[in-house]
């Protein structure tokens, strides 16, 4: 498998499983992180082609992690999709301000998520 790598930063096992199952039948390679700090560390270490970032995370929020990654030269241009819990509370604006490329409001449709991933990062 020489597919493109996607990093998913999410603390909830079921949500991770959804994305894991969703991408299982694609060529994308999925790596996972459980909190904001680990997300930043893995992103910097493994240079994924796209990052899915949950907004509410232990240790460091998705917004802060996104901001950190945008500040790093190696990940400054990596597409980041922020997944917000509060679609209607201005989190999307916060995500954009932090440098997110796109966002999905939870609960999202896996179909839509896959479509957005494919738009930002075409399968090889």
């Amino acid at each position: 498998m020489s597919g493109k790598t996607i990093l998913y930063v999410e603390d909830n096992e079921f949500n991770r499983k959804i994305v894991r199952d969703l991408l299982a039948r694609t060529t994308y390679r999925l790596i996972e992180a459980f909190d904001g700090e680990e997300g930043v560390t893995r992103a910097l270490a493994e240079r994924p082609d796209l990052i899915l970032m949950d907004i509410q995370l232990p240790k460091m929020s998705g917004i802060d992690a996104t901001r950190r990654l945008r500040a790093e030269p190696s990940t400054a241009a990596t597409p980041i999709i922020v997944i917000t819990s509060f679609a209607l509370s201005g989190d999307d604006q916060k995500a954009r301000d932090a440098g997110a490329t796109g966002y999905m409001a939870k609960p999202y449709s896996p179909r839509d998520l896959l479509q957005q991933i494919r738009t930002l990062l075409p399968e090889a």
Binding site: F14, D21, L22, A24, L88, K106, R111
Partner: protein, 538 residues
């Protein structure tokens, strides 16, 4: 009482009050158990009395002077009479000489007439004369009696033409008598003059004395009046000034002071009342301060509770949506056959689960929105948005529902509708709610979404050919948990919160919402919002 403060501004008065017994006197007058009215009356009566005494004394002096004037006048009169007597006697002598020369009855008549006048004058003198002069006057009268006899003799001698004998008698008897009488009268005059001099001296000294004592008494009276005025006025001024300062303190919110006046009159009562007032104010102030502190504490608690509630809401939102995300996500992937083929007879129940899951999600969202609205935490995020995008989003979301029910579902945005400023998501939510309801309550026919411009406002309309709303229900259709009746809730689902939330969002934009409906023929829900909502406008 003689504190420095109340006499500030009256250096002289202050000096007198502090350095002289006047201060003590003022205190004592203040302590008198009498009303202000009585004190003032007493003071005025006292001053009036002083002036009456002064007047009486002056009148006495005047009476004394007038008495002395009478004495003086009497002495003058006596001197006049004496001189007159002397003159009369001289005329008598003169006429005697005339009689001797002319030897006629007319001259003799003159002598007798002058003689009578002399006797009358002498009687007047005698009546008016003081006792010590009576002796001399009797001697004069004796001389006069003899002179009368002599004159009578001379007259007889003249009638008998014995002129020589008459002349002898005149020279030897009448002339010495004249000299004697003249001497005696001179004595009387001298005595009267001496008396007059003494009287004049006495009067002068007495006048001087009277003037001096009058001046002294006058000065004393004025001093006493001023003193009285000073004492009585300061016994009133001091409490008034103290009250002034005291009220000044109270007005500044300092209730620690107390009025301490020695007055037992109305000022004393006033001071007691003011102390009462101050104490009551202090009590109220303290009470108010405590209440404010309690309120503040309560306010802090309420704020904390409100914050806790908001946090709870935020957490709930996350906690509720996370499992919903998993449920709906897995369902969708199952139905998309990501886990492999789904047997046909599983598909329908899976879709039912999905429909109910989505409905549950909407309920959760509505309840959370309403909680936020009620907590006052709902805020608009204003930005440019396109009304066309709003309508497109709604159509995209609801098209499948309309298709399922076999309803015509059309949207139309007037050509002159520009980009707008507002919270596009909330507006979308509003249109979504109205359109969702319309589709829900319409069995056949159509649902239309229309957007038009009306001056500086945008009007969104959702028109359906559904059940319609009875006239009686139109009034409270926008209240919470309202649906036309409970059966509808069971039949069509929904929380009854959608319209309330929609109305709130419209009003937050500074707009309004209304409905026109005819039961059985359909309803049109409309709302208007400003084309460009200004920050903080609603």
């Amino acid at each position: 009482m003689t504190d420095a403060a109340p006499v500030a501004g009256s250096p002289f008065g202050g000096f007198l009050l502090r350095r002289t017994p006047l201060g003590r006197l003022v205190t004592q007058v203040a302590r008198l158990r009498a009303s202000v009215h009585q004190k003032l009356l007493a003071a005025f009566l006292l001053i009036t009395l002083l002036f009456i005494v002064m007047g009486t004394l002056s009148l006495q002096s005047l009476a004394q002077i007038s008495r002395q004037n009478v004495l003086m006048h009497e002495a003058h009169e006596r001197v006049d009479w004496s001189l007159q007597a002397e003159k009369t006697f001289a005329l008598q002598m003169n006429f005697t000489a005339m009689a001797l020369l002319r030897r006629d009855e007319a001259s003799i008549e003159h002598i007798l007439r002058e003689n009578n006048r002399f006797s009358e004058t002498l009687s007047q003198i005698e009546q008016a004369a003081p006792p010590e002069e009576r002796g001399i006057i009797q001697r004069i009268r004796a001389a006069q009696d003899r002179a009368v006899d002599t004159v009578a003799d001379i007259a007889n001698l003249v009638r008998d033409d014995r002129i020589d004998a008459a002349r002898v008698l005149q020279l030897q008897t009448q002339y010495p008598l004249y000299q004697e009488i003249q001497g005696l009268i001179d004595q009387v005059v001298a005595a009267e003059r001496a008396r007059m001099d003494a009287l004049r001296l006495a009067m002068e000294s007495e006048n001087r004395h009277a003037a001096r004592s009058l001046a002294l008494r006058g000065f004393g009276a004025v001093l006493l009046a001023v003193l009285l005025g000073f004492v009585i006025s300061w016994s009133f001024i001091l409490p008034v000034r103290q009250a002034h300062d005291f009220l000044g303190q109270v007005a500044k919110g300092d209730f620690s002071g107390r009025m301490t006046v020695p007055n037992r009159d109305e000022f004393g009562e006033l001071a007691a009342r003011m102390n009462q007032m101050s104490a009551e104010l202090a009590r109220l102030y303290e009470h108010q301060r405590q209440s404010a502190a309690e309120l503040q504490a309560l306010n802090h608690k309420l704020e904390a509770a409100s914050r806790a509630k908001s946090e709870f809401l935020a957490n709930m939102s996350h906690e509720l949506r996370t499992p919903m995300n998993a449920i709906l996500g897995f369902l969708e992937m199952m139905l998309d056959e990501i886990y492999g083929d789904v047997p046909e007879h599983f598909k329908e129940p899976l879709r039912d689960v999905q429909t109910n899951g989505k409905h549950l999600l909407r309920l959760i969202n509505d309840v959370l929105d309403l909680s936020k609205i009620e907590a006052g935490r709902m805020e608009l995020s204003l930005a440019e948005y396109s009304p066309r995008d709003v309508v497109d989003t709604v159509r995209a979301s609801l098209q499948s529902l309309a298709a399922e029910k076999g309803l015509e579902f059309a949207t139309s945005v007037a050509a002159d509708v520009p980009a707008a400023l507002g919270d596009g998501k909330r507006i979308t939510q509003c249109v979504m709610n109205l359109a969702g309801n319309a589709l829900k309550f319409t069995k056949d026919g159509r649902v239309d979404i229309l957007v038009e411009r009306d001056g500086e406002s945008l009007i969104y309309r959702v028109r359906d050919t559904g059940l319609g709303i009875p006239q009686a229900q139109l009034g409270h259709i926008f209240e919470e948990f309202r649906q036309v009746d409970a059966t509808i809730t069971r039949e069509y689902g929904g929380t009854g919160l959608g319209l309330t939330i929609t109305k709130t969002f419209v009003e937050m934009h500074g707009g309004r919402i209304w409905v026109e409906s005819e039961p059985g023929r359909g309803s049109t829900f409309s709302f208007s919002v400003p084309l460009r909502v200004r920050e903080g406008q609603p």
